[in-house]
């Protein structure tokens, strides 16, 4: 049984789950903020993308690990 491939799959799958949930939370709050104050749209969108850059750090590290073990 190829444990390395299984490990790579589990690692990246859980990382993708975390990234999906994190990004979903960020953007749902951003949309809510834009709906409350439409004039802040630019600021909120920019802050949302900064948040995405931070949240996706660990899932991307897990992607690199998955490539290493595959």
């Amino acid at each position: 049984m190829d444990y390395a491939a299984l490990a790579a799959g589990i690692v990246f799958g859980l990382g993708a789950l975390g990234a999906g949930i994190g990004n979903g939370l960020i953007f749902s709050k951003t949309v809510e903020g834009i709906s409350r104050q439409p004039e802040l749209r630019g600021t909120l969108t920019a802050t949302a993308f900064i948040g995405v850059g931070l949240v996706e750090a660990l899932p991307i590290i897990s992607l690199v690990l998955a490539f290493m073990w595959q």
Partner: protein, 265 residues
Amino acid sequence: MKGVRSNKMEHIAPQLKIADGFTLDLSALFMIVLSSVIVFVLCRLAVRNLSVDNPGKLQNFLEWVVEFVQGIIGQAMDYKKGKPYLALGLTLILYIFVSNMLGLPFGIVTEAHDAAHATFLGMNLYIPEGDHEELSFSWWKSPTADASMTMALALIVIVLSHVQGLRHNAKHYLKHYTHNPNIVFLPIHLVEIFSKPLTLGLRLFGNIFAGEVMIGVILGMGWVGIPALLLWQGFSIFVGAIQSFVFTMLTMVYISQAIVHEEDH
């Protein structure tokens, strides 16, 4: 990172073995020098014939970048306190942005016909263990796709923040660890000392390296991958810009955490 396996052909980076367990990555060396030269030439061209009333396009662009970095510093700390770090922020954002963009347009790959005895200018290249049928060396990549390069940048920034914190007010800086707000939090702060440079460096490395690996995978798909490659290149430009901005912003936040004291202490 040994390399990416695609269609039984391994692309590995040309490395020189300096000492036991220490190899020098030649492609990273060339690419770091190249991106440094590009940023230097860009900035020197932008400050030629400076004019207040009639700025050229490049001067306009550089002024915009300077104001952008001033905005980043102003968000993290009081700008009067943060003014010495403007040059650091400017260097980081320009250098990381150019480095992230370099690996996207093309790649340079040379094939080694005799894998075991590949040489570069007479020096033997280091071949990792294993049985290689066809070996090719990839000479062109983003310098930030190398973990040692991004970790070096992160270490520079974090050591700078510690040194500046100790220089400005050493007792107050050490109080940040024990009195913040309670000594119970000390283990968390000790872990933070290690996790800050680690995540700072690995975030940048992971984003750019994964982007390059995906380019390799899409190229392996042949003609079918052309629209996918267009989309992925566009996304990689976006990610490269965002990651350079996030790195600079986090630098300023960590420095401000180390040197700003007055508020509630």
